[in-house]
Each structure stands twice: as structure tokens, then as C-alpha cells.
């Protein structure tokens, strides 16, 4: 063992190999240790070799006086006589620590020899006596004492120049410092290693690359390091390693066998890292950025100015690296109001928001009384509202605008978005407190201002739903009502059901999608900055494909730029994926369905997918528009094509009925084929006319309305007519109408009596006449009602209001509010005057009852009619008279 250490000295980091024997203790101390070429051997079992080594060592010391005694070495007693050298070599560590007094050393040394020799003997004989064991223990205890007493701190602080080293030059290497280094403390050393990207380990293991030893290095550590083949460096070698790695010239270049060279050879990986520093940097900046931040914040106390400099240098490239790794969306995020796309100009939302926010405190200081503005007022500045609602599609810059505006005006923001739970309870507890707080941000940032100006940003308020955010909107509204700070809400769909209640309390600002050209300009400049060449047409295509969504456009671009080295052939595929997730409008769909040009590019599945853009509208659009298409077919084939298309659509309708009535949604693809793919195939060509909105919807609601009218008339006339609703519509309606209109036409005012008789007979309401007119109008046929003089019509209405009794249903179809009162007497009986051949005795009584009832009702009917106010007043009196005369 002693021999080893000797040899280390010879190889040691000193510029000149020092003859080992005559070293003074001081010199030895400086030679802080270890490792290198000769360490290969120690891997072999130590104990058997020990003795041999001692002999060798003695051989090597020719100048020692004890040289003569060598031949007798085998005898232990001779060793007892002893020389200093031997002792030192064995107890080297002890010695180095004891820098106290020489005398002390001597004393200990005087004691140690004995203890030393015994183990050696034992090793040889592999027999231990009790005495020897005791000796061992004593020695261990002593060594422990020494260890406890050993001084801390560097031996000669600042005696050597610590290399600056390039950042991360030690990346991938693991270090362990043991013992006392000469010029730096252990902690300092660790810090340097960490700063340069290396790792510091605490245990000697397989992953350890370098063991840095100082004086009094741990024996155990040394031994395991040797065993595992870990490079062992002293302080100088370590510094040289740093210099080498960062490309400088090592101080100890005379030493060809220096470990660094070896390291280079042995670890090509590290070399590689060196050659492509950029890449490594990127990686590292990604992984270690948080760590660096921490470092920036609490710089470890360093004595060396140079090391501080190193740090400063590190920080600047770090920033650059961070930017490189940022997503484009974040990298080119507007940092200034002027950079927001599509928010320039005095009428822009951005400006509105600024004005609103600027004037917020003056508007809401409690002195002004503000009027709720007319919802249709154009130039409202929103001063009434305490909250602003920014709405618009995703990716147009709502959040960006809001945060930038706040920043510009010096407001601090408190943001809640969808990732926060925003239930009623939480909003109440947390946010309402926040609203009355003061911000200390300015205080901490050297402005010495405690600001009261802050803004609550509620992002994605339309996401406030579900169990998690239950009652959130309601609570938000109540927050808005008595908020002392401005609140800005953001949502995508302003017209959403959930937003209904909120919009009443908000200054409404709608963000529209920016124009393609606006986006294009910004995108092109980004492309230029990124040195990524893309033809403007392509950019436009991407913008259109993303539906003017700036964020998504940027994402697509960065995706494209990542693959810019790839073959051009792969590009179209990428762009296709970019386009695919776009939802097409029904007009676009139907154009594609029938366009033969698009068909060339499309597979069967693509055609099916067209249908699924909106499966409820697609068949209607196809049916409405297939006749507008000129199919690519010989002219005589066209009728057949049309017939086939119509047939397919009819089958598609069958499928749809099945789907809707049986919930058989799995049939949708079948319907896609019948309602969209097959018509598209048959009529594949180009559009000759305009694409129309399906007429079916309008016609359907029209026919529903008419059948409702018919049912009403049926209900009213049922007492006197026979026949179903259908027969009323198809047979009765025109005749009844004629019976009413003809006398009016012929006799004018004199015919009113006759017309009114018919109306009374069939118990029609005044509105029913209008319904009858609608039910009997046909295109191209003159409306008989129009030929009646307007005055006569008015007179008829007046007469009707005066004379006709109320029916049970008149209250229902008339004034709904009073329906309940009228409904109470549903049971009153009205005679069919003609049929009532047999009039029972109690009829008179009933009629009296009716009279009162009629009067009461009359009012409701009268108010519902258009008659003049005079008529209304007269009405009750006259009815009374009228009904009496009737009797």
C-alpha cells in the first residue's frame, strides 16, 4: 500500500516529478494525491501483496540509513527499529492531518510503529492473537480521533487559479470529492461542478466518472474507486480537465499521460457533445432551466471573482437557448398592443377595452349615476358596465389583448381560467376576498407603490359548467354587481345558453376573426425571422385551412418548419392533415358532393365524410340542389341520371326514418351512401346555378302552420259540420269563405248581416276568417277577400265584436292572459239555434246566465280586437240590447 502512494507521488500533478524519499512533510501535503496509470494493479487482492510491497518500497529508498538492514527484513523485530519514512508511508494520511506540532507527531509515531507491524504479520500468517486484536482496535480509535480533529476548509485557499470553463463542459460526468483540496473547499468544488453541468455524487459507484482526492482522502473511497476503475484526479488534474473540456490549454500540458487525454479517448460520447454544443445546449436548457433559475436567485457565496464571471456568462446564453426551445406561439406572442393582429384602429375592441378600463374607476366611484345603455346603441363606451365580456372564436387574441391592455395601463391581473375550479363556493371564498386586496407587486419590484389597481380576468367563462363549477356563473354575476375592481370575462360563444344571464351585466365586445391578409403579413414576417421559406400562397392556404385562427396557423407553421429538411413529397400530406379537421359549411359540402373535379381526388370514404359534416342538413341540401347540377353525361342520359338520383334520395329518406324512429344511428353510413354519395356519383358535374338553402324546412313549417289553422277551424265549426279535419280543408273551406265574402262583395255594408250570420252559424272567430283565406289561397288565384272594400271589412269586424257571443275557445285563442277566468265557465251551453228544435224549459234560465257571462267575456274579446276605443266602450251596452232583442 505504501508503495502505491509513493508511486502516486512520482506521477503526481507537480510539474516536476519529485523524488519520493526525501520529501518534506510540507511538500507532501501539497501533493494532494493520487490516481492514474499504476492503479491498474491495485485491483488485485491486497493482503497477500502487502508484504511484497513493503519490501519493494524499502528497496526504492536507497538513501535511507536503514538500507543495510534490508536482508534481515523478514524479521519483524528489525522493522521495529524503524525509520520515519516507513511510518509516514503507512500512516500518510494521519501525518498530513497533523499539521500541529512535530513533536506531537513524533509521539504518535513512536506509538504507531508497533501497531503497524502487527497487522502485517497477521496478514502473512493469517492468524490473530488477542493482543493483536486489541492493538487493532486501539489503532482504529486513534484514527477516528484524528479524523475528528482534522481541520476543515481548504489548505491554501485561493492559491490556484480556478478555470472558468465553458458552461456545461462537464455535462454527463459525475464527480465525487473526497479529502481536503488545496485551493478550494469541498462545497465550492461541488458548486463548480454543478455550475459546469456535472453531477456530484456522494457515493463511489459505477456511475461515478471521476474521484477527486485531496489530502486525507477517504481510504475506503479510494479503494472502491480503484476497484471500479474510476479515474482518480487531484485538484490540479481536475482543473486541467475543466480547461481541456472547455477547449483551453491545460496548464499541465507537459504531462502526456494526463487523465484528460484518456478521458477523451474513452468517452466518445462526451466528445460528441463537445462537437455539437448547440444540440446539447438545447437539451440541457430544456431539462435544467428550472435549476438554473434557482441558481440565479441565490448565488452561492464565492470568493473568486472569476467564478462569478463564469456565472454571468452562463446566464446570457441561457436566455437565448430558452427562446429557441419555445413554441412559436409563445415566442412570437405579442408583447405590445401594436403587435396584436387585427386590433388596430380607433374602433377596435382593443381600444374600446383600453378606454373602458381607463375610465373604470372614474365611472364607478359611486358619484356618477349611469344609465343602462340601449342594447342597440352603436357608440356605447360601456361605462355602465363593471364587467367586459370578450367573445370570439379561439385563436383571435382575446386573452392576449386583455392581458396586454392591463399591462399597458398598469393594472395587475388576477386570472382564473378553466383549469381553476370556479364553483360558487370557491368564487365566493377566494375571489371576493381578492377583489378587496391591494397588490404588493409594485412594492416588491422597486416601485414602492402599493397598487389598488387590479383586474380580475375570468378566462373561458363558458367552460364554467358541470358539477365542478356549479353555480359559478351566478356567483360571478353577483361578484360583478358589487365589485370594486374591473372584471374582464372571456368566452367563445356569446350566444350560448349558459352565457345568457351573464351577458346582461357585461360590456359586450365581440372579437371577429382577423382578415386573411392581416394574418398573412404577420405570419410572413415570422417566417422570415425563422428563416423558413414558404410561398405566400401556401401561407394563405394554411390560414384558410385553420379558419383564420392565428394560433393554429402558427402551430401548423412550426410543424412544417420542423420538417423543412424532409422531402418535399411529404409536405402535401402534412397540409392535408392540416385541412382535414375543418368543418365544412353545408354549402361547401353540397358543392363538393356534386363537383366532378373534387371527385377525382376523393376516395369513397372522403365522400362519405362529406355527409357527416352535418348529417341532418346534408340530405336536404342534396335534394334541393341536385337539379342545379349539369352532370358530365351525354344529354340523352340526363333524365335517367336525374331519376336515379331522385330514387337514391328517396331511399335515403327511408333510412333516415329508420334512424330517427328506431334510434338506429348505426345506419348513418348507409344514409350517407344513399343521400350523399350516390347522388354525387350520378350527378357528378358542375353547378350551373346558385346553391339554395333547402326549401323543405320552410315548406314544412308552412304546412304545419296551415294544418294547425285547419284544426282550429275544424274545432270551432265542429258542432255544425260533419266531417274530419281533412274534409274541412279540402271541401268546406272555400265554400264557407265564399258564403261570407260573397254578400260583402255584392251588397257592401248591407251584406254584413248575412256574412255575420254565416260566421255565427259556424261559430267562427274573427281570426278564423284570415285562416280560411290563407287555406284557400293558391298561387295565381285571386284572393276573394281583397276584392272586398276596406270599409266593409272594418264594419264587419266592428259588427262582429258587437254581436257575436264569446265561445269557450275565444278566450283561449284570444287574450291568453284572461284565459284562466274564461276557462272557469267552460261548461256553459250554447244552443245550436237551427238544430235546437226541441227547446227544453230550463233553456231560458241558462240564457240568462249566458247574458252575464257574455258581458264579462265581451270585454276580453273586445280588447283583443283591433276595433277603436269608442267601440269598446259601446260594446257592452249594445250587446246587452242585442241579446235581449234576440230573446
Amino acid at each position: 500500500m505504501s508503495k502505491d502512494i509513493r508511486s502516486f507521488f512520482s506521477v503526481g500533478a507537480k510539474k516536476k516529478p519529485i523524488p519520493p524519499a526525501p520529501e518534506s512533510p510540507k511538500q507532501k501535503r501539497k501533493a494532494s494525491v493520487i490516481s492514474s496509470d499504476e492503479e491498474d494493479s491495485p485491483a488485485t487482492p491486497k493482503e497477500p501483496t502487502k508484504k511484497r510491497k513493503t519490501t519493494e518500497k524499502v528497496d526504492k529508498k536507497p538513501n535511507l540509513s536503514k538500507l543495510k538492514k534490508e536482508p534481515e527484513e523478514g524479521d519483524t523485530s528489525k522493522l521495529m527499529e524503524e525509520d520515519d519514512e516507513l511510518e509516514k508511508s503507512l500512516m500518510e494520511i494521519d501525518e498530513s492531518t497533523i499539521s500541529t506540532t512535530k513533536k506531537d507527531k513524533r509521539v504518535t509515531k513512536a506509538k504507531t510503529p508497533k501497531s503497524e507491524k502487527k497487522p502485517k504479520n497477521d496478514l502473512n500468517d493469517s492468524v490473530l492473537s488477542d493482543e493483536e486484536r486489541f492493538e487493532r482496535k486501539r489503532m482504529a480509535a486513534m484514527m477516528y480521533q484524528k479524523f475528528k480533529n482534522r481541520p476543515t476548509g481548504a489548505l491554501n485557499p485561493g492559491s490556484k487559479e480556478v478555470p472558468k470553463g465553458k458552461p456545461n463542459c462537464l455535462a454527463g460526468c459525475t464527480f465525487l470529492i473526497t479529502g481536503l483540496l488545496e485551493s478550494i473547499e469541498r462545497d465550492e468544488g461541488n458548486q463548480i461542478i454543478k455550475d459546469l453541468g456535472g453531477k456530484v455524487s456522494t457515493v463511489v459507484g459505477k456511475k461515478l466518472n471521476y474521484l477527486i482526492t485531496g489530502e486525507e482522502a477517504g481510504l475506503k473511497k479510494l479503494a472502491t474507486a480503484e476497484e471500479l476503475g474510476v479515474k482518480i484526479l487531484n485538484e490540479d488534474q481536475f482543473f486541467d480537465l475543466i480547461r481541456m473540456k472547455s477547449g483551453e490549454k491545460p496548464l499541465s500540458d507537459n504531462n502526456n499521460e494526463s487523465p484528460e487525454v484518456k478521458v477523451k479517448k474513452e468517452s466518445p460520447e462526451i466528445k460528441k457533445e463537445k462537437t455539437s454544443p448547440k444540440k446539447v445546449k438545447k437539451e440541457i436548457s430544456m431539462t435544467e432551466s428550472p435549476k438554473k433559475k434557482i441558481k440565479k436567485e441565490d448565488p452561492s457565496p464565492k470568493k473568486n471573482d472569476s467564478s462569478k464571471e463564469v456565472k454571468r456568462e452562463e446566464t446570457s446564453p441561457k436566455k437565448l437557448e430558452n427562446e429557441e426551445s419555445l413554441a412559436w406561439v409563445d415566442k412570437y406572442k405579442p408583447t405590445d398592443l401594436k403587435q396584436i393582429i387585427g386590433q388596430q384602429g380607433p374602433a377596435s375592441n382593443c381600444n374600446k377595452l383600453i378606454n373602458w378600463l381607463k375610465n373604470w374607476y372614474s365611472n364607478h366611484d359611486g358619484k356618477k349615476k349611469l344609465q343602462r345603455p340601449n342594447p342597440w346603441a352603436k357608440n356605447d363606451d360601456g361605462s355602465f358596465y363593471k364587467c367586459a365580456l370578450l367573445s370570439g372564436p379561439p385563436g383571435v387574441g382575446k386573452t392576449t389583448t386583455a392581458t396586454l391592455v392591463c399591462k399597458e395601463l398598469g393594472f395587475d391581473t388576477v386570472e382564473f381560467n378553466a383549469s381553476d375550479t370556479r364553483s360558487k363556493k370557491l368564487l365566493k371564498e377566494q375571489v371576493s376576498e381578492l377583489l378587496s386586496n391591494k397588490s404588493l407587486y409594485g412594492y416588491f419590484h422597486g416601485q414602492d407603490v402599493v397598487s389598488k389597481k387590479h383586474v380580475l380576468l375570468m378566462d373561458e367563462v363558458d367552460g364554467m359548467a358541470g358539477n365542478e363549477d356549479r353555480g359559478g356563473i351566478q356567483e360571478l354575476i353577483s361578484l360583478i354587481k358589487d365589485s370594486s375592481i374591473p372584471i374582464i370575462c372571456m368566452c367563445n360563444d356569446r350566444n350560448h345558453q349558459k352565457m345568457r344571464s351573464l351577458v346582461n351585466y357585461c360590456y359586450d365586445m365581440r372579437f371577429n376573426k382577423p382578415q386573411v391578409n392581416q394574418i398573412k403579413g404577420a405570419i410572413m414576417s415570422i417566417c422570415f425571422k425563422e428563416k423558413f421559406k414558404l410561398p405566400p400562397a401556401k401561407v394563405e392556404e394554411i390560414i384558410l385551412a385553420t379558419n383564420n385562427d392565428i394560433r393554429q396557423t402558427l402551430n401548423h407553421l412550426s410543424l412544417l418548419s420542423a420538417g423543412k429538411d424532409l422531402d418535399l413529397k411529404t409536405k402535401p400530406a402534412e397540409e392535408k392533415t392540416a385541412e382535414k379537421d375543418l368543418k365544412l359549411g353545408p354549402w361547401e359540402v353540397v358543392r363538393k358532393v356534386f363537383s366532378s373535379e373534387d371527385h377525382e381526388k376523393m376516395s369513397f370514404y372522403d365522400k362519405c365524410d362529406l355527409f357527416f359534416n352535418d348529417y341532418s342538413m346534408a340530405p336536404l341540401f342534396a335534394q334541393q340542389n341536385y337539379l342545379q347540377v349539369a352532370p358530365k353525361a351525354p344529354k340523352n342520359e340526363i333524365p335517367e341520371r336525374v331519376a336515379l338520383t331522385a330514387d337514391a334520395l328517396s331511399l335515403g329518406d327511408l333510412v333516415e326514418k329508420r334512424i330517427r324512429s328506431n334510434m338506429a344511428w348505426s345506419l348513418l353510413p348507409t344514409q350517407a351512401v344513399f343521400s350523399s354519395v350516390m347522388p354525387g356519383e350520378y350527378m357528378s358535374g358542375r353547378f350551373t346555378g346558385q346553391i339554395n338553402f333547402p326549401g323543405w324546412l320552410g315548406k314544412n313549417s308552412k304546412s304545419n302552420k296551415r294544418s294547425r289553422m285547419a284544426q282550429e277551424i275544424h274545432d270551432h265549426t265542429r258542432i255544425n259540420t260533419s266531417g274530419s279535419r281533412l274534409s274541412i280543408r279540402m271541401d268546406y273551406a272555400p265554400f264557407i269563405l265564399n258564403a261570407i265574402v260573397n254578400p260583402l262583395k255584392k251588397h257592401g255594408n248591407d251584406g254584413i248581416e248575412e256574412a255575420l250570420n254565416v260566421i255565427k252559424e259556424y261559430r267562427l272567430l274573427r281570426e278564423d276568417i284570415d285562416s280560411l283565406i290563407e287555406l284557400t289561397t293558391w298561387p295565381g288565384k285571386k284572393n276573394p277577400w281583397e276584392s272586398v272594400d276596406g270599409k266593409v271589412k272594418a264594419a264587419l269586424t266592428r259588427a262582429y265584436n258587437k254581436e257575436v257571443m264569446a265561445y269557450t275557445y275565444s278566450a283561449i285563442s284570444g287574450v291568453k292572459k284572461k284565459a284562466s277566468a274564461a276557462a272557469a265557465d267552460e261548461n256553459f251551453v250554447i244552443d245550436g239555434e237551427e238544430e235546437g228544435g226541441v227547446v227544453s224549459e230550463d233553456e231560458d234560465d241558462e240564457k240568462v246566465e249566458n247574458d252575464t257571462l257574455i258581458k264579462a267575456k265581451k270585454k276580453t274579446v273586445a280588447t283583443s280586437k283591433k276595433g277603436s276605443s269608442d267601440d269598446k266602450k259601446k260594446a257592452p251596452a249594445k250587446t246587452k240590447a242585442g241579446s235581449k232583442t234576440k230573446k
Partner: protein, 355 residues
């Protein structure tokens, strides 16, 4: 002043103008004092409702003619309120459950329960049971029909149900077997002529035999329509002449005109115009099967046998599809498109043959 149809409607079984044997049978039925559930079936305008009212009058006396409107409200299981207008007297109640659309089942069940669960307190009343008249039962959903058959049996002690049906084919057999079916066939043309003359006599007018016959031919054996036409003729021109114009119903004219246009031109553009006309017919409430019928009748006029057969085949298959489908226009249009196709080919062949 009511229209003649309603004014001169017979109110007594003995005064009915045709199906007199049947009238006697109904009278006998009433004499027995009790009768089973009845089902009157026959085409529109044949006199079903008239016979039902006559029967009720025979049963209860003049009281049934004192009618009143009532609105009844039913609550569906999904808590939706359905309002139904009913016409009722002290003895009977007339309902059209199909007014409630898909909720007709609730109406059928609840209404019958309501009416049937209350016994006739007035023992002086002539009968122990009330009568419920359900019209347009063939329009009921299957659900409602199935609900009906159980209720019919259960409450037979307190109420009788009279069904008025256009076609028994759409009534489930279970109901058909529970009722005594009474067929009210449409009157023959001769009967119509005699009725028209009788009506004119009552109005103290004179109608030439020829005009009455023409009206009878045009009215599709629908007596209601015949009398309405007669009155319209009177309004237009009196005294009557044999060849005077008879106002046709608008929808019939429109339908015929549509068919004529199909015959005129067979192009996609024309088909689009036809579609508009079909929409118009549908929105005016002309039943789509009637549109089919009207179209086919007019279209086959100019066709040879082969083409007729094809046309009929198409019409049948598309009408079937229409009943199974949801949007009528799709199938009507498909039929028209198919006809245009075959007709155009037919015309082209004719031209070829000429050469």
C-alpha cells in the same frame, strides 16, 4: 245561415235518403236498448257522421243535439299538457284523438276512463251508458289503438264507443273484432242526383236533371262535396242551366295542371318547378297519397299500356316508400323524375318509329 250541407242534413234515421235498410237495422238496434261498440266505416262524404248523430238521437232523444264545446287537458307521462277540443252533449262526447298527434294514446286512455268511470246518476235518462264517438280512428297510432282495445272491454258496462273510420285497413284487427262494423258506402250517382233535386226542392229552386248529373259525376261520389258544389252553382248563376260552369275545387285544378306540365316538358329545370307545385299542394294539406292518385290518373291518359303499367308500378312503389319514409316530397319527386325518364324515352322511341 248555414250552408245547405249542414242545413238539410237529416236528423232522424227515418229521414235518411239512402241505405234505408241499414237505417232500419240501426233503429232496431236501438229498440233493443243496448248495443255493442260500433264502427262506422266508409269514404269521406258518405254520411257516417250523419248516421251516428241520427242513431244517438234515436237513442237519447233531442237532448243529444244540444252540443257544447269543451277543451279537455291531458297530461302526458312526460308532463306535457295536451289540449283537446271535444264536442259533447249530456249523453255523449265526440273526440278526435288524432288531434293530439303522438300523444293520442294518453287522450284515448284518460278520456275514456274519465267518462266511463262516472255512472249515469240521472236514472230518468234513457240509457245506462254514455256514448263516446271517436272520429278518425284510422289515424291513431298503433300505440293508441292497442290502448283502446283494453279500455273498450273494461268499461263496456258504462259506455259504448262508436268509431268513425275511413278505411278499416288501418285499424288493428283487435279493434275491428270488438266492434260491430257498419259499412256506410258512398252514395251512387243516381242517389246523389235525387238528393240534389230533393235539396233544391226544399230550397224551392228548380234544377235541371243534366246539371244534377254533372255535379254528381264531378263530386267523386262525395255527397258533401256535391251539395257544396250545388250551392256554389246557385250563388254563381240562378236560374240553373244544364251547361253552366261548375266550380271545381282549387286543389283538384292545381293537381291536374301539375300533371299536364309534367307531360309537357321533361327536363331537370321543369322538375324543379314541379317540385314547387308539389310543395304547394302538400302545404295546402292535400294528402300525399291523393296527390299520387291525382297525378297518376292524369298522367296515364296519354300513355300506351306498357307505359301505364310502368307508371303504376312506380307510383305504387314510391307511395309505399312515402308511407315508410318521413319526407313526402322526396318520394313524390322521385316518382315524377322516374316518370319523366320513361316518358321521355317513350317519346324518343315514337319519333324513331316514325322514321
Amino acid at each position: 245561415m248555414a250552408l245547405w250541407v249542414d242545413k238539410h242534413r237529416p236528423r232522424d234515421l227515418s229521414k235518411l235518403d239512402y241505405h234505408k235498410v241499414q237505417a232500419d237495422q240501426l233503429k232496431n238496434l236501438c229498440k233493443e236498448g243496448d248495443f255493442p261498440h260500433l264502427m262506422f266505416y266508409g269514404p269521406s262524404g258518405a254520411g257516417k257522421k250523419t248516421r251516428i248523430m241520427c242513431l244517438l238521437r234515436e237513442l237519447y232523444g233531442g237532448g243529444v243535439e244540444r252540443l257544447r264545446n269543451e277543451t279537455m287537458t291531458f297530461t302526458t307521462p312526460s308532463n306535457r299538457k295536451v289540449e283537446i277540443m271535444t264536442v259533447s252533449s249530456n249523453y255523449h262526447m265526440e273526440v278526435n284523438p288524432s288531434d293530439a298527434g303522438i300523444y293520442d294514446r294518453v287522450v284515448v286512455v284518460d278520456l275514456i276512463k274519465q267518462v266511463a268511470q262516472t255512472h249515469q246518476i240521472d236514472t230518468a235518462g234513457q240509457r245506462e251508458f254514455k256514448v263516446i264517438v271517436l272520429s278518425e280512428v284510422d289515424e291513431l297510432t298503433k300505440d293508441a289503438q292497442h290502448a283502446l282495445r283494453r279500455t273498450m272491454e273494461k268499461y263496456v258496462a258504462t259506455c259504448r264507443i262508436i268509431l268513425s273510420v275511413n278505411s278499416t285497413s288501418r285499424v288493428i284487427p283487435a279493434i275491428r273484432s270488438r266492434c260491430l262494423g257498419i259499412r256506410v258506402a258512398a252514395p251512387t250517382e243516381e242517389e246523389i242526383v235525387s238528393i240534389l233535386q230533393f235539396t233544391c226542392k226544399k230550397e224551392s229552386l228548380h234544377i235541371p236533371e243534366g246539371l244534377a248529373q254533372r255535379i254528381a259525376q264531378q263530386c267523386d261520389r262525395n255527397l258533401r262535396r256535391a251539395i257544396l258544389m250545388l250551392e256554389a252553382c246557385k250563388v254563381q248563376q240562378y236560374p240553373f242551366t244544364i251547361n253552366q260552369e261548375i266550380t271545381e275545387l282549387d286543389w283538384q285544378m292545381y293537381l291536374r295542371e301539375t300533371a299536364n306540365q309534367i307531360m309537357l316538358e321533361q327536363t331537370p329545370a321543369k322538375l324543379e318547378k314541379i317540385r314547387e307545385r308539389l310543395y304547394e299542394l302538400l302545404s295546402q294539406g292535400v294528402p300525399p297519397d291523393m296527390i299520387f292518385k291525382g297525378l297518376v290518373q292524369n298522367l296515364v291518359l296519354n300513355c300506351d299500356m306498357e307505359l301505364k303499367a310502368k307508371t303504376l308500378q312506380f307510383a305504387a312503389s314510391y307511395e309505399h316508400r312515402m308511407h315508410n319514409g318521413s319526407k313526402h316530397i322526396f318520394h313524390l319527386e322521385a316518382f315524377v323524375a322516374q316518370f319523366m325518364n320513361i316518358y321521355k324515352k317513350y317519346l324518343a322511341d315514337m319519333v324513331m318509329d316514325d322514321f
